[in-house]
Symmetry: C2
Subunit: 324 residues, 2 copies
Amino acid sequence: MSSDATIGVDLGGTHLRSALADSFGRIMASRKAAVNIHMGAGAAVSLLIAECRALAGHAQSHAMNLRAIGLGVAGKIDAEAGVVLFSPNLRQMEGYPLVSSLAKAMGVPVVMENDANAFGLGEAFAGAGKGLSNWIGVTLGTGVGGCLVLGGRLWHGDGLGFSGEIGHTAILEDGPPCACGLKGCLESLASGSALVRGAGELISGGKATSGRLYDLWRDGNLSAMAIYECATAGDPWAQSLFVRMGRALGISLGNLFTVLGIRHAVIGGGVSAAWDQFIGPVKESLAGSMSMLAPGDAVILKSRLGDSAALIGAARLAFESVNR
Amino acid sequence: MSSDATIGVDLGGTHLRSALADSFGRIMASRKAAVNIHMGAGAAVSLLIAECRALAGHAQSHAMNLRAIGLGVAGKIDAEAGVVLFSPNLRQMEGYPLVSSLAKAMGVPVVMENDANAFGLGEAFAGAGKGLSNWIGVTLGTGVGGCLVLGGRLWHGDGLGFSGEIGHTAILEDGPPCACGLKGCLESLASGSALVRGAGELISGGKATSGRLYDLWRDGNLSAMAIYECATAGDPWAQSLFVRMGRALGISLGNLFTVLGIRHAVIGGGVSAAWDQFIGPVKESLAGSMSMLAPGDAVILKSRLGDSAALIGAARLAFESVNR
């Protein structure tokens, strides 16, 4: 007898992750491929189809019945039409008939959700958000994504194609430019891109002119993780970038706790691996920016599903779409 | 045959408004008295009881049956215990057994809600929010209050005693001091108090050293409404204070639209009478601070119930509490 399976896909600014999941949300096989903003939409979709075919083959060879595919995609989406409307970190995908192309190629239903919302579904189903009624989700990656779980359900607002977009809230007047076109958004201060750009600016501004951070910059090898390693090794300039990240996150979360009257947040995404470098500044900043909630009552949790949160959430979304 | 009535009370930083309402939310009689932060809690409660007794007398003389009293009070409240926990503009009321004192004196059930939440209940029941599922409410008065209506209902978050407190979200790093103890909150830039303090700072800083604004300041007669009149008469310094107010409001509302994925707000409170002076800057600021929602899709509505919104909401709350 065959068992049901779905594929969950997490399409972000730098990686396309995909996984085959069973009906309990367990990952049976997973894949990862590099994507970037300069790749054309056709090439990105061909890669997406190839990754899904590989996982479908795995399902077949294990006598699993592939029921549906769930996509988590960075940006503002039209879930009904199955297209990405606006994605600062995936510009090539804007307007492409992503869902219909994949459904046609794979022969199964395809559903789409914003990637940070997929993260929220995953963490609510099997991660740090399990059992919590109200919480804010934040994903720290190439950009900063977010979601809201209110009354135990993923919040979609007025169904405008975006919600929980904490990364594109204004934090600092005349702050750094953001991929979305504005300045001083949380994403411009607290994302992987913000760390890399911030390090470059420190160096080109005459600070950090020697040492490992400088060497990485000179060799074109700056990355969020490399900057984290420098911070961990004691580099004060690298550390200052995580302080800036943490402070901005603390202001954003504090403001949302104050407006929503809630006190839990779950932080995930690849850059959340640098937790020990930014969580202190997050908590200090929260303490200095909330007058309604006692700072000690705020609970900031680390994602429990790590890199797999959005995958598990997207696979879950696919299951729910065929089992309604 | 007698008909049912409730009393709604709006207890703010400068005025105690009260009204007798029928079961359709129509105001049968209303009263207004001055209160201030220097008045002791005992004196404020005595005044509250006297106002309610006057309205109860009106009910009796019109053969109406007073069923309950609803209080809208500025600040963080414990609705269960019936006490104000934290109120920057009503410090004397913190910890006072407000609900039980009034219930004992009046002999009817008393329920309490934050005053901006009462505003939200009123506008949702019979005002600009009627028929809208999701919207942000803002009250511009001595302070800046707020509420959220989500899924057609007043949002209470985790039941921590506050929600929708947009006035105490951080907008400007190292901004003006706020009554809540923090700096640069929306309230420190967009409230009646912020207008008065801002005008004083302009004058003592050597600007606006003649003219009507200066005369008002010299005579100790500065008020939000007097500053509005100066702005309307063309005083550029008075106008600049409303521009600051509007910009701060626009940033706050834009951020909330982005995070909540919604697009409606209702602005009320006494200072919203200065609408024509600040709505332009609100819209400009919204246009410059949102990348997810097209600025033209944002809808900023003016309160339809004016000064009576919180009164009608509090009276409605009282009706609902006895007709559950």
